[in-house]
């Protein structure tokens, strides 16, 4: 059923009895052309674009839990394309362009809100780096603007402008950046994929891979063996676990990242802001809660909860930036497992096997990339060649020495 004002009106007249489930809950078929391991945002977007853009319809998405329980429901909903390097900028800009047309495309209200993303700067060095990044973005056709202190002050009146150690000097803004209702992204892609006949199989854990030489023949799951022509991994924080089933060792470590939401407040911050002097970023949800987070906890983890020390650190950084936060109550905190790659950039590539594909290493930037990741991964799976904007995101770039080292931190995943 296509959603529209008319459909709401008609269903209201009929007592709202005719609404259909947003997607089916099928049993797995014996065989699929493509199996996508992982029903998160990226897996569902891949299934959607494979069916919608590349004409592949016989697809099974297997998910060990339920749709929306993974990182697609655990992020801080920010979208942006303010990247510096050639290997990243065009990719994230494609993603932002897809976000801009997404709701019309998949006929679902994802509440895309282009409220702007501000990166504050506190030193001359940070200002120069921000201007350089802004110029690099503009040379790639991405919007960027450097804001002076007065403009920032008018825009964000509640911030601490008298901090002697880390004075706010200005900031780089990408006005087309913003936030999206994250769950709706999962539901919208799931519904869109389902409408093309893609089977979304929830509570179906992948337990093994059947391999004949260098060819994958299918996957073992908790719902039995399923045969496939192509296997596409999209398992985020558990990428190493599923890749190991296929005998592949990845340049990835799993780390926990926490996020927080406060009690609902009146309108307070109408953009997304990152603090340049500490690990902290914040936005306000449409419901009024302040959504914020910081850095990863710093040790390898598969547990979806973090440590109190990091909670404390995030709160301290937040209060240093916005003193008024000290009176705000935190409502909830949660953790998600990040697939931290060795250079901080993702991998969308064929594995060194005949019919295995890998989408991993999103670190904590996976949400904003969801549509472009799906699009480029679908392109790779359907055509067996990388999409032009994802051509640098190769698995073998570490061996060849072509890292996409956005942060310049080297092969230390806990520093990205």
């Amino acid at each position: 059923m296509r959603y529209s004002a008319l459909s709401i009106f008609k269903n209201a007249l009929g007592g709202n009895k005719d609404w259909q489930p947003v997607w089916r809950e099928p049993e797995p078929k014996k065989k699929y052309d493509v199996i996508i391991a992982g029903g998160g945002g990226h897996g569902l977007a891949t299934a959607y674009y494979l069916a919608h853009e590349f004409g592949v319809r016989n697809i099974g998405v297997i998910e060990k839990s339920y749709i929306g329980n993974g990182n697609i429901g655990r992020n801080t909903t920010i979208i942006r394309s303010n990247y510096l390097l050639e290997g990243n900028t065009p990719f994230y800009e494609l993603s932002l362009k897809l976000w801009e047309g997404l709701e019309q495309d998949f006929n679902f209200n994802a509440m895309v809100s282009q409220r702007g993303v501000v990166n504050l700067v506190h030193t001359d060095g940070q200002r120069d780096a921000a201007r350089r990044r802004g110029n690099a973005m503009r040379m790639h056709g991405v919007d960027a603007e450097y804001l002076d202190l007065k403009t920032i002050r008018d825009m964000l009146p509640f911030f601490d402008y008298s901090n002697a150690r880390f004075p706010i000097m200005g900031g780089l803004i990408q006005r087309r950046g913003g936030t999206v209702r994250h769950d709706a992204v999962a539901w919208g892609f799931a519904r869109g994929a389902d409408s093309y006949g893609v089977d979304i199989i929830q509570n179906c854990e992948m337990t093994g891979v059947r391999r004949e030489g260098s060819k994958i023949t299918g996957v073992e799951t908790s719902k039995g063996f399923i045969e496939c022509d192509k296997l596409a991994l999209s398992a985020a924080g558990h990428s190493s676990v599923v890749a190991e089933m296929a005998g592949i060792k990845l340049p990835i470590e799993s780390h926990v990242l926490q996020a927080f939401v406060s009690e609902g407040l009146k309108p307070f911050i109408d953009t997304v802001v990152t603090y340049g002097a500490g690990h902290f970023y914040i936005s306000q949800s449409d419901k009024g809660g302040l959504v914020f987070g910081g850095d990863i906890d710093g040790y390898n983890s598969y547990a979806r909860r973090g440590n109190l020390a990091t909670v404390e650190h995030v709160m301290e950084a937040g209060v240093a930036m916005i003193p008024a936060l000290s009176r705000v109550k935190v409502l909830r905190s949660w953790g998600g497992i990040m697939d931290m790659s060795m250079d901080g950039s993702p991998i969308i590539d064929k594995a060194p096997l005949d019919n295995l594909y890998i989408n991993a290493g999103w670190c904590y930037g996976g949400f904003k990339a969801t549509p472009a990741s799906g699009w480029c991964y679908a392109h790779l799976i359907a055509k067996d060649e990388p999409h032009p904007v994802a051509k640098f995101m190769r698995l073998d770039r570490f061996r060849r020495g072509y890292l996409i080292d956005e942060r310049g931190a080297g092969a230390q995943p806990n520093l990205h």
Binding site: E253, G298, A411
Partner: protein
């Protein structure tokens, strides 16, 4: 992660005092090892799920290298020993 790590030298200390190196099994190769071995060491990770042994450095304490045995799915810490002592025993 438990908030406290039971250092064999200093007692129970907050985990922020420690620096994590990574899995005990991941050992630095010889300087003249071939590029494949070095690539494997620098970039690839087993990234195991479950019970693991890691090298932790008590940076803000006794500055000894420790072996922390823990479960990375539920944050239980089973055992903390001095890495040098563990080496001399084996």
């Amino acid at each position: 992660m438990a908030s406290l790590i039971e250092c064999p030298h200093c007692g129970a200390r907050p985990k922020e005092e420690f620096t994590v190196r990574g899995n005990v099994e991941r050992q630095r190769p010889a300087p003249d090892a071939d590029p494949d071995t070095w690539f494997d060491y620098v970039y690839l990770r087993d990234n195991p799920m479950g019970r693991i042994s890691e090298h932790w450095h008590h940076t803000a304490g006794c500055r000894r290298w420790l072996i922390v045995e823990r479960d990375n799915t539920d944050h239980t810490v089973f055992n903390v020993t001095d890495a040098m002592e563990a080496k001399s025993k084996s």
